[in-house]
Amino acid sequence: MIEVKNVKKNYGRKQVLKGLSFTAEKGEITCLIGVNGVGKTTIMKAIMALTPINSGEILIDGEKIRKESFEKITFIPDTITMLPQMKICEAFAFMADFYKNWNFQRAEELLQFFKLDPTERIANLSKGNTAKVNMLLGLALDADYLLMDEPFSGIDIFSREQITEVFTSHLIEERGVIITTHEISDIEHLIDKAVLIDNGEVIKEFSVEEMRENEGKSVVDIMWEVYQR
C-alpha cells in the first residue's frame, strides 16, 4: 500500500499541496483526477522523492522510500526518461544494467504487442510510439507499484486503445497502479478507485464500483457534484 499522509508543499509562497492524504492499494488501479495544475504530477514526484515536501509523510508498504524502493515502485512520467539518441534496444540494455527486476521476457512481449522496432532511435519515434516506449520501460520492471502520469493524454486513438488494453491485462494485474488524468470518462471502467483533487487537496476518495452500486453515480456525476459546489 502507498500511503500519502497530510502532505504539504510550497512553491515559493504558493502552497501547491495543502495537507493531501490518500492511499493506493496493491492490486488496484487508483486514479488521481483533477484539472491541470492541481498538483497531481507533484504528488507523483513527491512519492518518488523527485521533489521535496514541506511536511507530511509518504510510505510505501509502511516504509519511507530508499534506494531499494526503486525496484518496488516505478514512475512513468509524461515525457520519456531515456536519451533521445539511444535506440530502443540500448535503452533496454541500460535498464537491464541497473535494475535487477528488469524482465527481459516481458519487455520482448511488450515490444511485439506495441509493434515497435528495437533498432529505432527514440528521437525518431512518433509521439504515440514514444509514449509506448516510455510505458514499456516501466511495465517491464517487475515492480509492485506503478505510477503513470497522464498515460492517455496527447496521443492518437490507436495508441490509446493499445494502452487501454495494457490496463486490462496481466501486465497490470496484481500490481498497485496510480494514474493521473484530467479526462476520466474514457477510462472509468478501468479504475478501482477515484481520488478527486482540487487546489492541492483531496476532495473525495471513493471506490467507483461501490459508488455505482450504492448511489448509481458515475465518476463524472460525482465530479459535477463536488466541483460545482
Binding site: 488494453e165 486490462t168 470518462s185 471502467h189 478501468l190 464500483e209 455505482r212 453515480k217
Partner: protein, 129 residues
C-alpha cells in the same frame, strides 16, 4: 466481444447481464467454458478486479460453475437457464409496458402493431441471409 457499458450501473452487474443475454441467445451453450477472468477483462476492456467480482456473483447465482482448478463453465442446470431467459423476457416486457402505458394506447392496437412490425423485421432478417 465488445460491450458498451454505461457509467452509472456497476460494471460487474452489466457484465452479468451481458452473460445472461448471451446465454438466452444461445451464444453461450450449457457447459461451455467461459473465458478466464483475465481474458474476460481484456476482451471487455474492464478492470480485472471487476471481472473477478462478476464471476464471483455469477457463481453465487448459479450461472457458472467451477470444478477444482478447471476453467469455469456455463451452468447445465435447465432450471437456471430457463429462468435467465424468462427474466430477460420479463424485463423487456415490463419496459415495453411501461412506455406503452404512459401514452395510453389500447392493448389490441399495440399487439397488432407489434405483430406487423415483428413480421416485417423477421422478413428483413430472412432476406438479408
Amino acid at each position: 466481444m465488445t460491450v458498451k457499458f454505461n457509467n452509472r450501473d456497476p460494471v460487474y452487474v452489466q457484465v452479468i447481464r451481458h452473460f445472461k443475454e448471451q446465454i438466452a441467445k444461445g451464444y453461450f451453450e450449457p457447459g461451455q467454458e467461459t473465458p478466464s477472468r483475465r481474458e474476460l477483462a481484456n476482451q471487455l476492456k474492464i478492470n480485472p478486479n471487476t471481472a473477478q467480482r462478476a464471476y464471483k456473483e455469477m457463481e453465487e447465482q448459479g450461472l457458472i460453475f467451477t470444478e477444482g482448478n478447471m476453467p469455469s463453465c456455463i451452468t447445465k442446470d435447465e432450471a437456471v437457464l430457463k429462468s435467465v431467459r424468462e427474466e430477460l423476457i420479463m424485463e423487456a416486457v415490463d419496459l415495453f409496458l411501461g412506455s406503452i402505458q404512459s401514452i395510453n394506447v389500447p392493448l389490441e392496437e399495440v399487439l397488432e402493431l407489434v405483430k406487423k412490425k415483428h413480421e416485417v423485421k423477421s422478413g428483413e432478417a430472412e432476406d438479408s441471409k
